[in-house]
C-alpha cells in the first residue's frame, strides 16, 4: 500500500511511444518536476494529451513529442507558448486539435470505458475536417440529429501535480479549481501524482476531505515534489513565476536557447533547479495571480 516513489521511478515506468496525459491547465498546476525528469530521460515518440502549458512547449523543444492532442497551448500572462509555437510552425508535429469541451468529453468516455460520447462541439468547424478519424453519429431517437461521436481519449499514463497526497495515493487539490485532473486519472492505465507534501496517511475533517477529487485506486505512484509545479502556479500554495517564464520564452529566440535552458535548469536536477530559481522559500512564496 505504500505507493511513494521518486520522479525517476515514475518516469522509468513510461515507455517510448506511450500516450501520456498531463493534468493542470495552461500555466496552472502542471506536474513540472516529473516533466523535468522526462526531459532528462531518453523517452521519445510520446503522444502528449494536455490542456497545454509550458510542459507542452518543453517536451516539444526536447523532441519528445510525436503527436499532440490539445485544445490550446498558452502561458496565459504570455499568451503564445514559445516552444509549442516554434515546433508547431516547423511542421514536424502530428496534431489532434480539439475543442476544450470535446477534450474533457473524450477523457470522460475513456474513464467510463465507452468508445465515444456524443456532442455538438466541433461540428461545422475544421476540427472535424482535420481529424477525419472523428466520426459523426445519428441519434437513434425521433429527432435523428447528427452528432459528433467524440472518441475516448485513452491514456497509457496520466501525470498530475496536487497540493497534498499520502502514501496510499489519497490526494487533495486545495486550489479553487480542480481543472480536469480527475478525468485524466480515470482515463489512464496508470496515474503518477506528484505532491507538494506527502503524508503517511491523511486524517482529515469533512471540510478538508472535500478537496479530494479522485480515488486512490486510480493512483499508481506518489512522488514528493515541493514546488513541483514551478514555474506554473499551484493554488492555494503559490503563483506562477513570471521571471522564469520570461527566461524560458527568451530561450526560444536565442541561438542554442533550448540547450542552454536544459543545462541551466533541467540537467543538474531538482535541488539545483530550486537554487537557480532563488531557493525553495522564494518559489513557495510566489504570489498567486490575480485574474
Amino acid at each position: 500500500m505504500n505507493k511513494q516513489m521518486t520522479a525517476a521511478d515514475a518516469v522509468a515506468r513510461l515507455r517510448d511511444g506511450m500516450t501520456v496525459g498531463f493534468g493542470g491547465w495552461g500555466p496552472r498546476r502542471k506536474p513540472m518536476a516529473i516533466v523535468r525528469e522526462i526531459l532528462r530521460s531518453s523517452l521519445k515518440d510520446l503522444t502528449v494529451v494536455a490542456y497545454g502549458g509550458p510542459e507542452v512547449g518543453m517536451l516539444c523543444a526536447a523532441g519528445k513529442v510525436k503527436k499532440l492532442v490539445f485544445g490550446f497551448a498558452t502561458l496565459d500572462a504570455i499568451p503564445l507558448e514559445p516552444w509549442y509555437r516554434k515546433i508547431r510552425e516547423s511542421g514536424s508535429l502530428e496534431l489532434m486539435e480539439l475543442d476544450e469541451g470535446m477534450f474533457q468529453w473524450g477523457l470522460r468516455a475513456a474513464g467510463m470505458r465507452l468508445p465515444f460520447l456524443p456532442t455538438r462541439c466541433g461540428l461545422a468547424t475544421d476540427v472535424t475536417r482535420l481529424n477525419p478519424e472523428i466520426r459523426t453519429i445519428r441519434s437513434p431517437y425521433e429527432d435523428g440529429e447528427t452528432l459528433l461521436a467524440m472518441p475516448a481519449l485513452k491514456l497509457d499514463a496520466a501525470i498530475l501535480h496536487v497540493n497534498v497526497a499520502d502514501r496510499l495515493g489519497n490526494t487533495l487539490v486545495t486550489g479553487p479549481d480542480p481543472y480536469f485532473d480527475h478525468l485524466f486519472a480515470r482515463a489512464a492505465e496508470a496515474c503518477y501524482v506528484s505532491a507538494e507534501r506527502v503524508e503517511e496517511r491523511l486524517q482529515l475533517d469533512a471540510a478538508q476531505a472535500r478537496f479530494n477529487t479522485f480515488e486512490r485506486y486510480l493512483v499508481s505512484g506518489v512522488v514528493e515534489a515541493p514546488c513541483g509545479a514551478h514555474p506554473t502556479s499551484c493554488p492555494s500554495d503559490y503563483g506562477w513565476d513570471m521571471s522564469h517564464f520570461k527566461r524560458y520564452v527568451a530561450s526560444a529566440t536565442e541561438p542554442g536557447g533550448w540547450q542552454a535552458y536544459m543545462e541551466e535548469f533541467v540537467q543538474p536536477g531538482e535541488a539545483a533547479y530550486q537554487d537557480r530559481n532563488g531557493g525553495i522559500e522564494r518559489m513557495a512564496g510566489l504570489p498567486l495571480p490575480v485574474f
Binding site: L80, R88, E89, R138
Partner: protein, 266 residues
C-alpha cells in the same frame, strides 16, 4: 449628465460592448480581455443586473470585480463556477461570450488556431480553445481592437475554429438553431451578420469614421444597416462606473496610442 465629458475610444468600445449583453436574460456574461470584461461589468451594473459573472477564475460574483491589482478589495462570492461547470453552462446554452479571434470571415466563422497552412503554419496562435463548442452552443460576440483585412479576411478563415453561417459547412441533420452570433465591436464600428442571408452589416460607426473607411479595411463586402448612425457616446455615469471597474486604467493600454473617442479632424 454632461454630454461633453471627454472619453477615449476604449471607453466608447466598452459601452458598445456592454450593449451586446442587453436583454440576454440570466446568462453567464464572459468578456475575454479587458475591454469586453469591462463591457460585461458595465452591463451588469447598469441595464442588465440579471447577468451572471465570475471572478475570472472559479467563483460567481454579483459585484463585478475591478480589473488589475485589487488592493484592499475583497471579492464577495455568490457561488461556484469551475471550468468543469463552465462547460456544463456552455453546453446548456446559458452564456454570452465576447472573444477576440485572430481572423473573422464573411460568414462570421472565426479562427484562433493558426495563420497560413495548417500543417506548417506561418503563425501558430493559441489553438481552437473553446471556440467550436462556444459557437455552436450559445450567444457569441467578437472584439476586434485592430479592424483590418488581416482580421476580417477576404476568403474563409485559415482554420475554422468557431462555426458561422456558411451552409456548406453544415452537414444534414446538424442543429444550426443553437448558434447565435450577435455583434463585432471593433475600433471603427459595430457590425453584425443580420443582412440578407446572414451577410455582414455595419450597425454603427464610431465618431469620425466613415462607412467607406470600414469597407476599405474589411476583406469582404459590407452592407449598411437600416438606421446606420454613430455609436453612442459614453455618458458621465457610465464613465464613472468604468473608472471604478478599472482603477488602474488598464483600458488605456488596450488600443495602440489610446486614441480619443472622437477623432480629431485630419
Amino acid at each position: 449628465m454632461n454630454e461633453n465629458t471627454p472619453f477615449t475610444l476604449a471607453e466608447l468600445m466598452i459601452v458598445a460592448a456592454s450593449e451586446a449583453w442587453r436583454d440576454n436574460g440570466e446568462v453567464l456574461a464572459s468578456g475575454l480581455g479587458i475591454i469586453p470584461r469591462l463591457g460585461a461589468g458595465l452591463a451588469k451594473l447598469t441595464h442588465s443586473p440579471e447577468l451572471l459573472m465570475t471572478d475570472s477564475e472559479a467563483f460567481l460574483v454579483e459585484d463585478p470585480i475591478p480589473v488589475g491589482p485589487r488592493g484592499d478589495y475583497v471579492p464577495k462570492y455568490s457561488g461556484y463556477m469551475s471550468f468543469e461547470r463552465v462547460f456544463e453552462c456552455v453546453w446548456g446554452g446559458r452564456r454570452h461570450a465576447m472573444v477576440g479571434p485572430t481572423q473573422i470571415d464573411r460568414w462570421a466563422q472565426t479562427n484562433l488556431s493558426c495563420v497560413g497552412d495548417y500543417r506548417q503554419p506561418k503563425a501558430a496562435m493559441l489553438g481552437v480553445r473553446g471556440l467550436p463548442g462556444n459557437s455552436i452552443n450559445h450567444i457569441n460576440s467578437f472584439f476586434v481592437p485592430n479592424h483590418s483585412p488581416r482580421v476580417f479576411v477576404a476568403g474563409e478563415v485559415d482554420m475554422v475554429s468557431g462555426v458561422g453561417f456558411k451552409p456548406e459547412r453544415w452537414d444534414d441533420g446538424v442543429r444550426r438553431d443553437l448558434m447565435d452570433i450577435r455583434v463585432a465591436v471593433t475600433d471603427l464600428c459595430v457590425m453584425d451578420w443580420q443582412g440578407p442571408g446572414n451577410s455582414a452589416r455595419v450597425r454603427s460607426l464610431h465618431p469620425g469614421v466613415s462607412f467607406e473607411e470600414v469597407q476599405e479595411k474589411t476583406g469582404f463586402p459590407l452592407l449598411k444597416a437600416e438606421g446606420l448612425g454613430e455609436t453612442p457616446h459614453p455618458g458621465a455615469a457610465q464613465l464613472e462606473i468604468i473608472r471604478r471597474l478599472d482603477p488602474h486604467d488598464l483600458r488605456a493600454a488596450q488600443l495602440k496610442g489610446n486614441p480619443p473617442g472622437i477623432r480629431p479632424a485630419a
